[in-house]
Symmetry: C2
Subunit: 142 residues, 2 copies
DNA sequence: GCTTGACCTCAAGTCGACTTGAACTGGCAC
DNA sequence: GTGCCAGTTCAAGTCGACTTGAGGTCAAGC
C-alpha cells in the first residue's frame, strides 16, 4: 500500500489532522516524508493510532504512551506498568460502581430531602475519604 | 456550635483554604461573615463540602453541583440528571472493565510481540470505535 | 503602638491534550 | 505562468479546577 497523506489518515482514522501533527511533534507518530509540504505516513500509522487510542482509553498519558514505542517503532510494553494501571482501574471501577448505585438510589428515593435518606448519607460518608484521594472520574469531552 | 473560621474548616475537611475561597467565588459555598478579614462559615459547611466531594466523585462539574443547591442552601437534586449520570457511569464502568481485563492479559501474555496476540488485537479493535467517543478515563490528580 | 503572621484580594500561572489563528508555501488546474 | 486551496509553521488560546504570587490589611501579643 502506498503512503497516505495526512488528509487520508485523518479520514480513515477519524483523528483530526491537527491532532496528527500534534502527535508527530510529541514523538508518537512519524511521517515518512512529504509530497510538497504535505506529510506522508506509512499505512501502519493507522494501527499506531489505534494503539494510541487504546492507551488513552486505558488512562495513560501521551508521554507514557510515547515511551511504549521503541525507537524502531515496535511496541515495548512494560508489564509492571500495565498491571499497575489495571489495579488502578480496578479501584476506580469499584468507586464508580458505588457512585452509580448511589445515583440510581437518589434518583428514586422518596425521602423528602436526600439528606434524610440513610442510603444517601451512607454514600456521603463513604465518599468523604475518597475525596481526599484527589481522584477525578471520567468526563465526556466535547 | 460556633461558626468556624476558614482555617478550622480547612483543617476539619481537608480542603485547602484556597479551594474554600475558590468554591465561595463559584457560589458553591457561602461564608456567614468575617472576623476581621477572616471568613467565618456555619458548621454545616462541612456537610456541604462532603456533598461537593460526592458530586465531584460522581463526575459532575462544579457548575452542575452549584445548581444542585437551592438559593436557600437546600439540596435540589434533579432526578433525571442523576439517572443520566448513572447511565453514563455504567457505560464508563463497562469500558474500563474491558480495558482492565485487556491490561491484565497484556501483562502476562507470552506472545513475543503484543501485536501477535489475538486477545490484544481484539481489544485493539474494540477500542478503536470507543476512541471516537472522546471519552477520557479517570486520572489520579496530584 | 508597633510588629508579626495569617488571612485577604486579584491576577496570573499550571496541567494535559488539543485547537485555533495568522502568515506562509507549493502542487495542480487552467 | 498564475491563482487557488489545502496544506504548512509557530505561537497562542481553550477548558476545568485549582494553586500561586504580589501586595494589602487586620487582630493580637509584647
Amino acid at each position: 500500500m502506498r503512503d497516505l497523506d495526512i488528509t487520508e489518515v485523518a479520514r480513515r482514522s477519524g483523528v483530526p489532522a491537527s491532532t496528527l501533527r500534534f502527535y508527530e511533534a510529541r514523538g508518537l507518530l512519524s511521517s515518512t516524508g512529504r509530497r510538497g509540504l504535505r506529510r506522508l505516513f506509512a499505512p501502519d500509522v493507522l494501527e499506531r493510532l489505534s494503539l494510541i487510542a487504546m492507551g488513552r482509553a486505558a488512562g495513560f498519558s501521551l508521554e507514557d504512551i510515547a515511551r511504549m514505542f521503541a525507537p524502531d517503532g515496535r511496541l515495548r510494553l512494560d508489564r509492571k506498568l500495565l498491571s499497575a494501571r489495571a489495579d488502578e482501574l480496578d479501584r476506580t471501577i469499584r468507586e464508580l460502581s458505588a457512585m452509580r448505585d448511589g445515583l440510581r438510589h437518589a434518583a428514586v428515593c422518596p425521602a423528602p430531602s436526600h439528606l434524610e435518606c440513610p442510603t444517601f448519607r451512607r454514600i456521603l460518608r463513604s465518599t468523604a475519604p475518597a475525596a481526599r484521594s484527589k481522584r477525578t472520574p471520567p468526563k465526556p469531552r466535547r
